[in-house]
Every structure is written in C-alpha cells, then in structure tokens.
C-alpha cells in the first residue's frame, strides 16, 4: 500500500471516528452522569436525521436541518428522561430495567419514524458549499469529510472547555462522582441529569444529520450505528469522555482499514477489538478503577 492510499484511508477513518465520537461521547456522558446505559441512543441519532430531512423538505437548507435535527433530538431526549427514565433510577436490578426500557424506546421510536416518514430510503444531499474535494498533497479528500472532522474537533474543544473551565461543567462532573453530596449542597441534581441527557441526545441527533449525506437514511440506521458506539464506549471506559475519543479513533480507523485489508471480516473486527480490550483491561483503556473480579 502506498502512502497516498494510506493517507486517504486514514482521513476517511478519521471522519468515521468523529461521527462515532459524537454519538459515543453522548452515551458515555449519560452513563457517567445519569448512570444509564442508553441503548436507545441510536434512535436519537435516527430522530435527528429525520427531523433534518423534514426541515430540508420545507426550507431546502442544510444548516437549518442541522440545527433543528440536533435540538429536536435533544428535546425528545429530555422529555423521555423526565417522563420515563426518572422513574426507574435507584431501583433494585436497575441495570436490567434500564436495558429493557431503552430497548422499548428503540422499538417505539424506530416504529414511529417508520410510521411518519415511511420505510423507504431517503437521501439528504450535501450542502453546495461542501461539495467537491480538497487536495492535500497528492491525496484527494472530500470536503464534507473534512467538515465532519472539524465539527468533531470543535465539539471536543467545546466539551473540554465546558467540563473543565465552567462552573456548570464542574457541577456536571461532580454529579458523576457523588450525586447525594451535590444534592445536599443545594444543586438541583435531577435538573442536571435532565440537561445532560438532553445535551447528549442532541449530540446524537447532530451526528445523525452529519452522517446522513454519507449514508442512506432508513428507519434501521440508528441500530447499525449504536452497536459500534457501544463498542467505542466500552473500549474507552464507561463514563470516560476522553476514553470515548480514543475509542472512536481506534474503531474509526479499524473500520476504515479493515475494509481495505479484510473486507470479509470488517464488521467482525470491531467486536474482536472490543473482546481483546475487555479481556486485557476490562474497565476500558482510560478508566481508572478496576471492575473485574479479584
């Protein structure tokens, strides 16, 4: 393989990684702060895509779709958190019930999408300004992929700033450490959890809109993506924001190069990576506390 193919593949892997990061950072944020493993995160990705599709039918503007897709998914996420998920926090065997409830939301939301927009394939075109491709040395890179990478990096920067430099961000981090103490200090913890859930699902929706021009839009699209994002979260360490970034980079590149080298086994490769990580370092690459059995 010459260096050009390698570079092209690397950049395409990077754009996949950024999409995965947008979804899995939301997942990991929800897990870290709200302590819920949100299996339905893919459905918010899906909602974002379809909201954007609807808006583009009306206004024919990609940027309006992008904005509304993300915000719409976030609002639906908050409503679901307030009405349903809040009721099962702290129950015995909570994990199983979370799994079931979010599984139920996959079934419900995917069918709602199918009901409203129909089961057939939809397309969202790339915006005109991001058509064409970039010339990086001797490698041609689609502008849209670069755009995705830039958006991903912006989200990383913004999240870093928000979580480490602002008071609200510190409260969010505190609530993932000790919820009860934070409540005693006068913070409205349920509201923090709802907000985090909203922001995280909005990021899922954003990823949905961003990915739409590269993939076909179908009611089953969310489920395909969620499994890969789960793997990212597991590899990076549950609830670890930077772990999600590292995991996304690994999985994005594995997917990208896997298709090149082992097209037969590309889909299986990600699971193999996950299994290896879980066996060697069960708590994830960047997590601190051990979860395995002694």
């Amino acid at each position: 393989m010459d260096i050009n193919t390698f570079l092209a593949q690397f950049v395409s892997g990077l754009s996949v990684a950024m999409l995965l990061f947008l979804i899995s950072s939301g997942l990991t944020l929800i897990f870290g702060v709200v302590n819920v493993l949100n299996f339905a995160h893919g459905s918010f990705y899906l909602l974002g895509t379809y909201f954007a599709y609807q808006l583009m039918q009306l206004f024919n503007n990609f940027w309006v779709g992008l904005l509304v897709g993300a915000i719409g998914a976030g609002i639906v996420g908050m409503v679901i958190e307030i009405l349903f998920l809040r009721r099962i926090y702290g129950r015995a065997q909570e994990g199983a019930f979370q799994l079931l409830m979010t599984f139920a939301f996959i079934l419900i939301l995917d069918d709602v999408v199918k009901f409203i927009w129909g089961p057939e394939y939809k397309t969202i075109p790339k915006p005109d300004s991001l058509m064409g491709s970039f010339n990086m040395g001797s490698v041609m890179v689609p502008t849209y992929n670069v755009f995705i990478i830039v958006v991903g990096l912006l989200v990383v920067l913004f999240a870093w700033y928000f979580l480490t430099k602002t008071d609200t961000g510190k409260t969010v981090r505190a609530s993932s450490l000790d919820r009860v103490m934070l409540g005693l200090l006068g913070t409205n913890v349920p509201m923090i959890m709802t907000l985090v859930f909203g922001v995280a699902t909005a990021m899922g929706g954003l990823a949905g809109v961003l990915a739409a021009p590269l993939r076909t839009v179908t009611p089953g699209a969310g489920v395909e993506f969620i499994i890969d994002s789960m793997i990212v979260v597991v590899i990076g360490g549950f609830g670890n924001f930077w772990g999600a970034l590292l995991g996304a980079l690994i999985i994005g590149e594995v997917l990208s190069f896997g298709i090149l080298w082992m097209p037969e086994l590309a889909t299986v490769l990600t699971f193999i990576v996950m299994i290896i990580v879980l066996i060697v370092k069960p708590e994830g690459l960047l997590a601190k506390k051990a979860v395995g059995r002694k």
Partner: protein, 332 residues
C-alpha cells in the same frame, strides 16, 4: 431448613406448589384437544420453544442475577449445529442431533463463560453482547459453511414427524417438558439455592466457603445447554434457520419474555413467551407496527409491574417477600 420451605406438611401447600405445572399441562395439552387449526398449533409450538429458551435464560437472569445480552448465541449455535447435522447426515437421528447441538452450545458457553464472568454488571452484559454479535457476524460472512444470510433451508424432519405440524408440536412439547422439569429441579436443588444467594448476597456465598465464579459458570453452561435445545427444536419447526437467530434482538427477546412474565418466578418466562408471541401474532394481523406495541407493553411492565405478570400478586400479598427469601436461602 430446606425441607421446611420446599416440602411442606399440608397437602394444600403441595398442590399450590404444583399448580403452575397443572396449568401448564392443561394449557399445552388442552390446545391439542381443542385443535384450533394448523396455524394456531404452529403458533403454540413457537410459544413452547420460546418458553424453553426464556426459562433457560431466566436461570441466569432471574435466579443468578446475571444480565446476559448474548443468549441468542447459544440458541443460534444449537439451531445451526442441529440444522447442519441433519442436512449432512439425514433426519433419522433428529433427537440425537438436537442433543448434540445443545452440547455444542454448552461447549461454546464454557469458553465464553470463563471470559465474560470475570466481569460484573454492565461490563458482563456488554461482553456477552460482543461475543453474540461476533458469532452473528461470522455466521453472515462464512457463506460456504453456514449459508450466509440465506441461512439453512429445507431441513428435513424424520419420517415420524413429517406431515402436519401437530406431530412436531407433540414432539416439542415432550422434549420441552422434560427440559423444564430438569430446570425446575435444578432451581429447587441446593445448587439452585446457591444461585439465588449469588444474586441476593454474593459475599455470603464466599463466607460459606463456596465459589461464586464456579457456580455462576455452572449456571451459565446449563442455561446455554437448554437454550441450545430450544434452538435445535426451532430448526425443525419450520425447517429453516437464519443468522437473525443470533442477532441481538433475539437476545433482547429473552430478557423481554423473562421480565414480562416475571423473572422472579419459574413459569414467568413461559407466560412472557406466550404474551410476546401472541402480541406479535395479534398486532401483526392489523398493523405492521407491532414492535411499537411491544415497546409500549415493555414500558408498562417496567414502570408498573416490575415483577412481571406472575409477580403481581407478590407485591400486594407480601411486601417483604424478597427479604424473607434472602433470609431463608442464606441461612440454610
């Protein structure tokens, strides 16, 4: 202590103990007497096979407290081994092949159990999911070996069971009932009590000088074996199997069936299997959006009846049931 709890002195209590079995026989034999037509017999055959799958899963989930999200793997392995053997060697030894399929599932589960059970909680759940998805992906890709996304079609049945689904239903019923009885005995054995205690108070088990990991592994393998039997039976029902049997919704269905019916009871998963299959059938007739309805049912169950359909009476009758049970099991 054990005798006091399980044996019971009054005959009334004994009858109460066996009441679910009576209902079980009345329903599944009664359906033969009523004979509502091939379509419904086929439906009930599916219910009974799913029942075994769900009850086997519940040994892990409801009893031992391990949320596996990869049980489809064992169900699918059982089905594929049975299907491929029947295709290769002819249907004469169908029963033997089902047992071989289950043994294959159990064999696979030893390795997966050894690796996954090192983790706890959500990590265990994710790792089981990963293994099942890995197997699903491989089934898809190894076209020459497993038939890829076509699955295996036209699996023959032995001469005894061909012609009419009723014969196959009776065959499934007998096998499932034997397996159910075995699982029931396992759950009521001292080993079953150990599993119960692992869910409620794993430290206690360590204090008692027993090994949590080993016992969990045993439960994992037993559960996989019976899930494999269910898979093998399903392979014969329609004579066709496909990779979707290993996909994660199949694993999710096991959790759904066990929870809807009541994971704290032995027969809960049977009720859950009936409800889920029935819903699919009834709702599927009127609309293609049946998964929406299943989702709503699951939401209602999770929010309002967390103990499942068979667990409803427990809440109203005896609030501290779970606590009492802990005491009895752990002090024995």
């Amino acid at each position: 202590m054990r005798k006091k709890r399980w044996g019971g002195n009054s005959t009334l209590k004994k009858i109460k103990d066996y009441l679910p079995w009576i209902v079980y026989f009345v329903f599944f034999v009664g359906i033969l007497v009523v004979n509502p037509g091939t379509h419904y017999i086929h439906l009930v055959a599916r219910v009974i096979i799913f029942s075994l799958y769900a009850v086997a899963f519940n040994l892990l989930y409801g009893t031992t407290g391990l949320v596996s999200f990869g049980h489809a793997l064992f169900y699918g392995v059982g089905a594929y081994i049975t299907g491929m053997l029947v295709k290769a060697a002819g249907p004469e030894y169908f029963l033997l092949f089902i047992i071989l399929g289950a043994a294959g599932a159990a064999f696979v589960s030893i390795f997966i159990g050894l690796l996954t059970l090192r983790l706890t909680g959500v990590y265990f759940t994710m790792l089981t999911l990963a293994f099942a998805q890995l197997a699903w992906g491989l089934t898809f890709k190894l076209y020459h070996f497993t038939g890829g996304d076509d699955g295996i079609q036209a699996i023959p049945k032995p001469a005894m069971l061909t012609g009419g689904v009723t014969k196959y239903y009776i065959f499934s019923f007998i096998i499932v009932t034997i397996c159910m009885y075995l699982l029931w005995r396992i759950r009521r054995s001292p080993f079953g009590s150990v599993l119960n205690c692992i869910r409620q108070n794993p430290q206690r088990i360590t204090f008692l000088g027993m090994n949590v990991y080993k016992n969990q592994l045993k439960a994992f393998v037993i559960s996989a074996f019976f899930a494999g039997v269910a898979g093998g039976l399903y392979a014969g029902l329609d004579g066709s199997i496909h990779p979707d049997m290993l996909h994660w919704p199949t694993s999710g269905n096991a959790i759904l069936m066990a929870t809807i019916g009541g994971m704290g009871t032995f027969f809960g998963p049977v009720v859950g299997a009936g409800i889920l299959t029935g819903l699919e059938e009834i709702v599927g007739k009127y609309t293609e959006y049946w998964s929406f309805c299943i989702g709503v049912v699951v939401l209602i169950v999770v929010l309002l009846f967390p103990n499942g359909v068979l667990g409803i009476k427990k809440i109203s009758g005896n609030k501290n049931n779970e606590e009492k049970e802990t005491e009895v099991v752990c002090n024995s």
